[in-house]
């Protein structure tokens, strides 16, 4: 049974991780649903993350200086009201669905500030539907999120509506335009 010894150290670390008393430092575990974490700040990247926002996920760029940030990172500007798996990490992109899924035509809407031009953009969060949960790059941000009685501003609803299958795969963030009234 010698190989079982290997478990002990693994167990100790796992236990420490899940039941840490350093509550302020684990406060966003919920955000992650116990999943691999989202290093959002430069300090995390500086601490050895060369592979993008989530450990084990290759970083991306949009290729445009006026669309800054990493679409596989939860802090990418378009994701200010997203809730789900980032399609960028699942075979799609910030604005497209992975192959084999269907993009929902019915969406919820957020307003996100693009730091490059300091403009507020109307973002449509289109769910991609029809295969099982992607499970990669879970991200939940709630700027402007309202409860379900304001559904078009709510990200708790499964927006796989009007699609052949209502099974949720991941979420994309599509630019609808610049918000004009400010």
């Amino acid at each position: 049974m010698k190989k079982l010894d290997r478990l002990v150290e693994y167990a100790s670390r796992k236990l420490a991780q899940r039941s840490s008393r350093r509550s302020l430092l684990t406060g966003l575990g919920a955000f992650l649903f116990g999943a691999a974490a989202v290093p959002l700040l430069p300090v995390a990247r500086a601490a050895g993350e060369s592979s993008g926002g989530y450990p084990g996920v290759g970083a991306q760029t949009t290729g445009r200086t006026d669309d800054p940030g990493d679409p596989t990172s939860c802090d990418y500007w378009r994701y200010c009201a997203i809730d789900g798996y980032l399609c960028s990490c699942c075979g799609g992109s910030a604005s497209s669905c992975p192959p084999g899924t269907e993009m929902s035509p019915i969406t919820w809407i957020g307003t996100c500030l693009n730091p490059a031009d300091n403009k507020n953009y109307i973002i449509s969060y289109n769910d991609c539907c029809g295969s099982v949960s992607c499970g990669r790059c879970f991200c939940n941000r709630n700027e402007g999120d309202k409860p379900t009685y304001r559904p078009q501003s709510n990200n708790d609803i499964n927006w796989c509506l009007g699609t052949q299958s209502a099974v949720y795969t991941c979420s994309a963030a599509v630019i609808l335009g610049v918000k004009t009234d400010q």
Binding site: Q17, R18, S19, S20, R21, S23, L24, T26, G27, L28, G29, A30, F31, F33, G34, A35, C80, A81, I106, G130, S131, V132, S133, G135, F138, N140, R141, N142, E143, G144, D145, K146, P147, T148, Y149, R150, P151, D156, I157, N158, C160, L161, Q164, S165, A166, V167, Y168
Partner: protein
């Protein structure tokens, strides 16, 4: 005699040496009591990593051993409600596909028996329009002493389906004018919250058919300070908590909701530190007069779902904060067990279940599964 005694001892020793563990019988399946103890709760594991296959886990939160009593399936974005202690049924709002994630869709209410956890029936929802929203009590409710089951639908057209649980038949489907969820109201009715901050209310007759519809005035600003759509009921009084810590007391016992007033959970200093409710099932209440709310410091626009470092306890009679319970791990969802000696059950932000006594002492931490995400908690009623 002596020789006889020795022979007796020898025979015991021989029996011990030869004894072996008995052969066990198969098949063997555990059963549960028809009425569960107060300390048992239902934890809805939404299974965020594989949404099509959640479950409802029955947990004895007071137990030091055998705390996991069993589980029933709850498929993608399922809803759940248990009948009251005197009744035997559990109800799950399910959605199935003939090919797991594609093919023909079938929405049903699945019915399970409390004592066996066996599926005992199902009621087809022929329009396949069951709302799929992250788990909340107010997606599926029982009214009129469990006689009628109300199902919230969203396609995005909103409606409520009324089911007679005795006849296992749909009696009505009631369209809602852009309103959401199900808040039991009056003898045999419900209200929904609407996009302008008003209530829409429907009362039913004894056949489960709508007889009375009404709309209230708007009682809060959805844009400035919306209320969470997950109120606390104490008896037939509902307490709606807002993003910025306001509490609205609403009498739900009449034909229409009656807003009895509002107050703030926070004083000026706490408001300036932006103490605000945050989490998922952000509030719960006891049977009498105490409301519990998950609170977090340094709130901001968008911080309302990240969980909180404390649970605040408010007496609704004098609207005073009577206790602040610091969480060992921030709370995401909370619930009190029922009965005279409740426990405070917390799904923490790491998705483990913390059990506190009402002095705020952590009794134990439970894991309900390696990847379980038990974000909604249902006490016995």
């Amino acid at each position: 005699m002596k020789q006889g005694f020795c022979a007796f001892v020898f025979s015991i020793l021989a029996a011990v040496a030869l004894a072996e563990l008995p052969v066990e019988t198969v098949p063997k399946v555990e059963a549960l009591p028809a009425k569960y103890p107060d300390s048992w709760i239902f934890a809805h594991d939404f299974n965020f990593n594989t949404l099509i296959a959640g479950k409802i886990i029955l947990v004895d939160t007071a137990a030091e051993t055998r705390e996991y009593k069993g589980a029933i399936d709850a498929t993608q974005f399922a809803s759940f409600v248990a009948s009251s202690k005197n009744n035997s049924e559990l109800y799950v709002g399910d959605t199935f596909y003939s090919r797991s994630t594609s093919g023909v869709r079938t929405d049903v209410i699945s019915i399970y028996d409390k004592a066996t956890l066996n599926k005992t029936g199902e009621i087809l929802l022929p329009k396949n329009n069951r709302a799929q929203i992250v788990a909340s009590k107010y997606l599926l409710r029982l009214i009129d002493r469990d006689r009628f089951l109300l199902v919230f639908n969203f396609t995005p057209a909103a409606s409520v389906t009324v089911i007679d649980t005795r006849k296992r038949m749909i009696t009505a489907e009631i369209s809602l004018p852009g309103c959401s969820l199900i808040y039991p109201t009056g003898k045999r009715g419900f209200s929904s919250l609407c996009g302008d901050g008003s209530f829409f209310t429907v009362q039913l007759n004894r056949k489960g058919e709508p007889t009375r519809r009404s709309s209230s005035a708007s009682f809060f600003s959805v844009d400035e300070d919306p209320v969470f759509d997950k109120p606390v009921y104490i008896g037939m009084t509902a307490y709606f908590v807002s993003f910025k810590s306001k509490v609205y007391e609403v009498n739900m016992s009449g034909n229409e909701p009656e807003v009895k007033g509002s107050w703030s959970l926070v004083n000026e200093a706490q408001a300036s530190q932006n103490w605000r409710p945050s989490g998922w099932q952000i509030a719960t209440g006891d049977d009498d007069e105490l409301v519990y709310v998950v609170m977090s410091e340094n709130g901001y626009d968008g911080s309302h779902k990240y969980g909180g470092e404390e649970v605040w306890v408010v007496n609704v009679n004098d609207r005073k904060l009577i206790q602040r319970i610091p969480m060992q791990t921030p709370a995401f969802s909370i619930e009190l067990t029922s009965g005279s000696n409740p426990l405070l059950i917390v799904t923490n932000v790491n998705m483990l279940m913390d059990v506190y006594d009402l002095d705020g002492k952590l009794q134990r931490t439970l894991s309900l599964g390696d990847t379980a995400t038990p974000i909604a908690l249902h006490a016995q009623r």
